[in-house]
Symmetry: C2
């Protein structure tokens, strides 16, 4: 594995290629060309070849790629060949929609806990997993050592939750709360707040309209 | 309004400040300092002041900011002082969770259509809005002229949907489908696929583990 910095756009496309390859496997298709991958994922053939070239040689000229072995290679690159444990904090509409997301199990993510503070929710099940009181967060983290925490709580509680999961050994955070959150350097965080994303769109439309 | 390029990180923070100011207004709080805004939104005081300085002078030294007028100014900058019309394509779990998102109405977004192809869903209501057949997309776009389309369909249909909404005059797209999508230069698109976001996290964890 080469050690120079791979562009994030490459990793995003690998993730997308990989889901397409997964679908081909389910359909029993065994070989595929870079132009087919490109066409079905919205990339260009040159991008597909360049993205893969960062990690080695995968295809056979004139034949294309073996679907299953390419899938396995990309899964290994992306780290989804392993089982990662995740917890979801917040069992509101979004937290529950996420807990039902089929892509998690499909890609080897194991949900080991959903937490909330609402007594009406606690003890109910979401996708077979009991919703626990937030007080049990540290206990579950101790027992299960989750890798990833998905934060789907109101903004004002987000930093406190992040501090607690970081303290409990979580390495990666996917944050849906509309808040700029601070994590120590060894913990990565990605923000996927869609209200903010929407407002980046309206900002650009309003700026255009003012011109 | 200055015309140089404003960093995207500034716009993201303005969106977050603005939601905090909205909450203060609901609580009847009328003035606030940059350090209070900073503390409650996860930014620094210097960031708050710099972010606002791009757009003019808002506070009074020693007094702070008037909450309501600062909220109004940021809302105008972000373009959320207007009513934007949006449509949601895909009434699956995610599309429905999005249609129920309270932040939409709060921020002046008006949902003018939810579309699906599943006969079981069509005619049912989500947040008071009837789920329509995708065949009616062009008709609704003609009648309502939506500004924003939220794409929450399976990846293989996403580009086709994007082409149709672009053809129908939509200017902005928020895409949840795991696909690299192409739009003409005058149409902006933002991708918020969380499976891909999760895999950017696992990629980094796996890379670290290999070191």
């Amino acid at each position: 594995m080469k050690s120079f910095k791979i562009p994030e756009a490459t990793i995003i496309r690998l993730s997308i290629y990989s889901r397409y390859l997964h679908r081909l496997m389910q359909q029993g298709i065994t070989t595929i060309s870079s132009s087919d991958i490109a066409e079905k994922t919205g990339a260009t053939s040159a991008q597909v070849r360049k993205d893969l070239a960062y990690f080695g040689e995968f295809g056979t000229r004139g034949v294309g790629y073996d679907v299953e072995s390419l899938y396995d290679s990309i899964a290994e690159i992306l780290g989804v060949d392993k089982e990662w444990k995740l917890i979801i904090i917040g069992a509101g509409k979004l937290g529950l929609a996420l807990s039902m997301y089929e892509g998690f199990r499909e890609r080897g993510f194991k949900n080991v806990g959903i937490f909330d503070v609402d007594p009406i929710k606690i003890g109910k099940k979401a996708q077979g997993i009991k919703i626990l009181h937030l007080d049990q967060l540290e206990e579950v983290c101790e027992a299960e050592s989750p890798d990833i925490a998905i934060v789907a709580v109101p903004g004002e509680h987000a930093q406190d939750i992040v501090n607690r999961v970081v303290e409990s050994g979580v390495r990666s955070i996917l944050n849906f709360a509309p808040r700029v959150l601070t994590t120590p350097i060894h913990v990565q965080i990605r923000n996927v707040d869609f209200a903010t994303n929407l407002e980046l769109l309206t900002y650009n439309m309003a700026s255009e309209d003012r011109r």
